[in-house]
């Protein structure tokens, strides 16, 4: 059995919130092993002083000293998990600064998380899986070109996507809303194979990602079953032809959003959020329904409007919809409302998630929502940069899976 990936935990509060067990379970599930970097009191005093962030909580001082021990190589680790209590300002400052410090000064993959007593191992699983993948599968993630004939499937919460790739090119695609996970998967696979004019038995390797990756992966006998953080990063830099150097990948999904800071195609730090649907693709779907347009028409509609004219804060999907209805009732134009909805989603992703990763250009937007040009425009305005939307961006997970799966093609 492969030795477990050693994940250093830097934290304040999980034991007292009753969620340490959940962290252990999530790590164990992906063959990770949580440990606490060993430091002595003299290290704590010295390193806390040198680091220069004068916090009061002793456990945060300890976390700072442990982070320094990792960066300076006094303690070995494969990955780092930083966790502090949700709503603790002091904890949030330390969490952010340590994430930044480790990312800048070491090659260790880092994920940071703020928990409540309701945090479960399920919520942490994808993050832990990404951490262990980055640590364990660097060779696989280094792959820059697709070879042979491979199939990638992304079983997302809102939509299911498939692509067939051959010799580094996409030759078939399939897309449909996720209804029954397995049936939707079979349908999009058939569509993609048909379009590619390839028979199922000609496919040399298969990869799955997304919420339904385990279920579908088992059913279709996938060679690679992988969470969407690493897969999407890979897919994004491949499609945008930015495989070398830094990049930032933003994926506003149906249920949660990902912001990933990438270096040479490998995620360094990332966040995944999904506390509220108000900051997700789901809200835009509801907006287009209320405005009586197809989701594909929402983007162009928003481009004709001006977000500033409609007050909207979709922190919660219910309140967001309420502002939308109010705005329409008080005479706002559909264009302005569409623009405001896009701005609101972009702003929340910006406020809640993009603060937790280091934004470096190019900024790549991927996933189905990247086709809503109003949303891309709003994000570009907030980040003050030109956002790159690569071709096939809605198939990002499927492309990443097909690309990585080619590493599993056997020579025989």
């Amino acid at each position: 059995m492969t030795p477990p990936v050693r994940i250093a935990q830097l934290s304040c509060g999980p034991e007292y919130s009753g969620v340490q067990q959940e962290i252990y379970i999530a790590a164990k599930e992906v063959n990770g092993e949580i440990f606490y970097p060993d430091v002595a009191l003299k290290d704590v005093l010295r390193d806390f002083d040198i680091f220069g962030l004068d916090v009061r909580s002793p456990d945060l001082k300890l976390a700072i000293a442990r982070a320094k021990a990792l960066v300076e190589g006094r303690v070995d680790a494969d990955a780092v998990f930083i966790a502090t209590c949700f709503r603790c300002a002091e904890g949030a400052i330390v969490r952010n600064e340590l994430r930044h410090y480790i990312h800048e000064n070491s090659k260790l993959p880092v994920v940071s998380y703020s928990f409540t007593e309701r945090t479960t191992s399920g919520t942490l699983l994808t993050r832990m899986e990404a951490l262990t993948t980055i640590a364990r599968r660097r060779a696989l993630l280094a792959r820059e070109a697709q070879q042979g004939i491979t199939l990638g499937l992304d079983s997302g919460s809102a939509t299911t996507k498939a692509v067939v790739m051959k010799d580094n090119k996409i030759i078939g695609t399939g897309w449909q809303p996720t209804i029954e996970v397995l049936k939707s998967a079979q349908d999009v696979i058939s569509h993609a194979l048909e379009e590619a004019d390839i028979k199922r038995n000609e496919v040399q390797a298969v990869g799955t990602t997304g919420y339904g990756r385990f279920l579908v992966g088992k059913e279709i006998n996938a060679d690679l079953i992988q969470e969407e953080l690493t897969v999407n990063s890979k897919g994004a830099v491949f499609l945008a032809d930015r495989q070398h150097g830094p990049a930032t990948v933003i994926d506003i999904g149906g249920m949660d959003n990902k912001a990933i800071s990438v270096m040479d195609g490998i995620p360094g730090t990332f966040t995944m959020g999904g506390i509220c649907a108000g900051a997700s693709g789901r809200f835009l779907e509801m907006t287009s329904k209320r405005l009586g347009v197809e989701i594909t028409e929402l983007g162009p509609l928003a481009m004709k409007g001006f977000a500033g004219r409609v007050p909207m804060n979709s922190y919660c999907i219910v309140f967001g919809t309420q502002s939308l209805v109010n705005a329409l009732a008080t005479g706002s134009t559909r264009e302005d409302v569409a623009a405001a909805a896009c701005h609101s989603v972009a702003e929340q992703v910006f406020e809640q998630q993009l603060q937790e990763v280091d934004i470096k250009e190019p900024v790549l937007m991927v996933g189905g929502t990247s086709l809503i040009e109003g949303l891309v425009f709003a994000m570009g305005e907030l980040l003050q940069t030109k956002i790159v939307v690569p071709p096939y961006s809605q198939y990002i997970g499927a492309v990443g899976s097909a690309l990585l799966a080619s590493g599993f093609i056997r020579d025989d």
Binding site: G13, Y16, S17, G18, P58, R87, E90, G91, E117
Partner: protein, 148 residues
């Protein structure tokens, strides 16, 4: 014997001196032991389950971080039952159960609200201060008499 709340509640020095001079120290270890020795759902390492931060709502509102509320579930009852308290004011390096500054601020506030004998001190920094430190604690504890 009086029940004496000690701050930091993990202190070896205070725990020892309170017991040495005939009283009962109320410390973190006793609260943790209670949990370790009670059957329920598995929640390592401290057997503090997600229910504890909810119990902590008695001392801190829901917008207070879960770690503060979970810790208050340990300390709240102790503060309730203590009959005296010794507080070291420069205990900046007590970790774990005393590792959260916000909880510690709330604990010392609640203890100070109570109408009980209290002794406020600093850690001694030399032998001379050591003598004054021990003498003050001895006088304080002797003065508590037999307690309730």
């Amino acid at each position: 014997m009086a029940k004496v709340f000690i701050y930091p509640s993990t202190s070896l020095i205070l725990s020892d001196l309170v017991a040495r001079y005939g009283h009962t120290p109320l410390s973190s270890a006793v609260a943790i032991r209670e949990r370790i020795q009670t059957a329920g759902f598995e929640s390592p390492p401290l057997q503090i389950t997600p229910e504890e931060p909810k119990k902590g709502l008695k001392w801190a509102a829901v917008e207070v971080p879960s770690g503060v509320r979970g810790r208050m579930a340990l300390y709240g009852p102790m503060i309730g039952e203590c009959e005296a308290a010794i507080i070291i004011n420069d205990a900046d390096l007590a970790f774990g159960c005393m590792g959260c500054a916000r909880t510690n601020e709330l604990i010392t506030f609640l203890v100070r609200q109570k109408d009980i004998p209290k002794l406020d001190l600093y850690y001694p920094k030399n032998e001379e201060e050591g003598v004054k430190f021990v003498a003050a604690i001895k006088r304080f504890l002797t003065g508590l008499g037999e307690g309730k």
